[in-house]
Amino acid sequence: MPILKTEAIVLRVIDYSETSLVAWSLTREHGRLHVIAKGARRPRSPFEGALEPLVRGELVFYRKKKASDALEIAKEFDPIDRHSGLRSDLARVHRGLYLAELALELSEREDPAPEAFDALARGLHDLASGPTSALDAALVAAELGLLAAAGLSPLLEGCARCTAGAANVSGVVFSAAAGGLLCDRHAQGDPAARPVSAGTLKSLAALQQGTAVALRDGVQRDLRALLDAFVRHHLGKSLRLSRYLGAQRPVRHRPRRSPRGAHA
């Protein structure tokens, strides 16, 4: 059994038994990697506290040369970046988990994923340490990176269905089904066609090219709706975390029965 070493970002952790965990992670060389970490749930294990979602680290594992769906056996996991800033508020946690869920959906076992790994690593780093105002831009940039790595970039130059330009009389139109912008003629028969504002398109194009932009509220909402439709079309389902990317769950602001300290 050869011993291998790779950088990995943990996407998902499953309690496997009283003492063991199964972790799914993304790696450059091996794509999605499924390992079992025996004894990881014991107090004094070599994995103690490190094998958790969204942690980037160096994974040492044994490769089993048997069934291709077998679990590899993790030997050590040494954290490089725990992204602890991600755990400081729900907006960061949810955006980090959204990227993990997208990476889970788009990755394959044993399919090298260097671009996806780098997009995810940069996204998690920015979500953990960036200012609150830049979280949504960081999310979209990383999301576009993961999609591009899977060959799913939204087409933003010209019509996605023909050679015509996409700037036309009815304004710019985007279709998740076509995978990009549409000319007038093709926009006609496409039930998925939606108008997209110039500001949203500009931000999307800039983020796709890796340029940092500040997203205004309206643009951020439009971008989110556009990308949700795009991801839903390509995966055939909505991501679980997509419902958690908007404003936080509204909390009922009912006061307590009596004001604090007012009752004797």
């Binding site: 309690d15 103690e48 506290g49 889970l104 679980r240 006061p255």
Partner: protein, 205 residues
Amino acid sequence: MYGEAVERLIREFKRLPGIGQRTAERLTFHIVQGSEREGLALADAIRAVKEKARPCAECFTVSERSPCEICSDPRRDPRVLCVVERPTDVLAMEKSGGYKGRYHVLLGAVNLLEGVEPHDLTIDALAERVRQDDRIEEVILATNPTFDGDATALHLRAALEPLGVRMTRLARGLPAGGSLEFASKAILAEALEGRRDYQERRRPS
């Protein structure tokens, strides 16, 4: 191949957490080969627990009475509420002997990737309890020091913040009696993040 009754017991064991086919078979054959008294005692114990034990209406821990022994004990401090993930955590806290307040059991931790959402837990009931009971001054968020436990604490904070109650989180880091040399990187990092001021406290003269 072993007959319907045996297959059925194997199936039932397999539904339990952490039990796979092989363990389920081993447990089943242990019971098949053991004495009748032993096997039926297990069946009786399961029946009794399902008939008598239920979640406490106030704190959701498992008990044979509701409110449970702790909720109905007048000596427990009503000003402090300790929020834990599971009934077994109540047991652990009680064994420590250092806690005299009351509890609230969430019945799990938020794990959105696996489909466990905040409303699947008893968070709404907790907020209602804090809102109704104005003796509660402090809520200790004692969810596990894991990714899910931390995320759950954030959901609790969002739900309780508008109520103006004081919230605290259990300290984490180096185990007492351990040494830096043998602590894992993750635990050392957490201990460093959670460091506290160490100036001598001066009493006002």
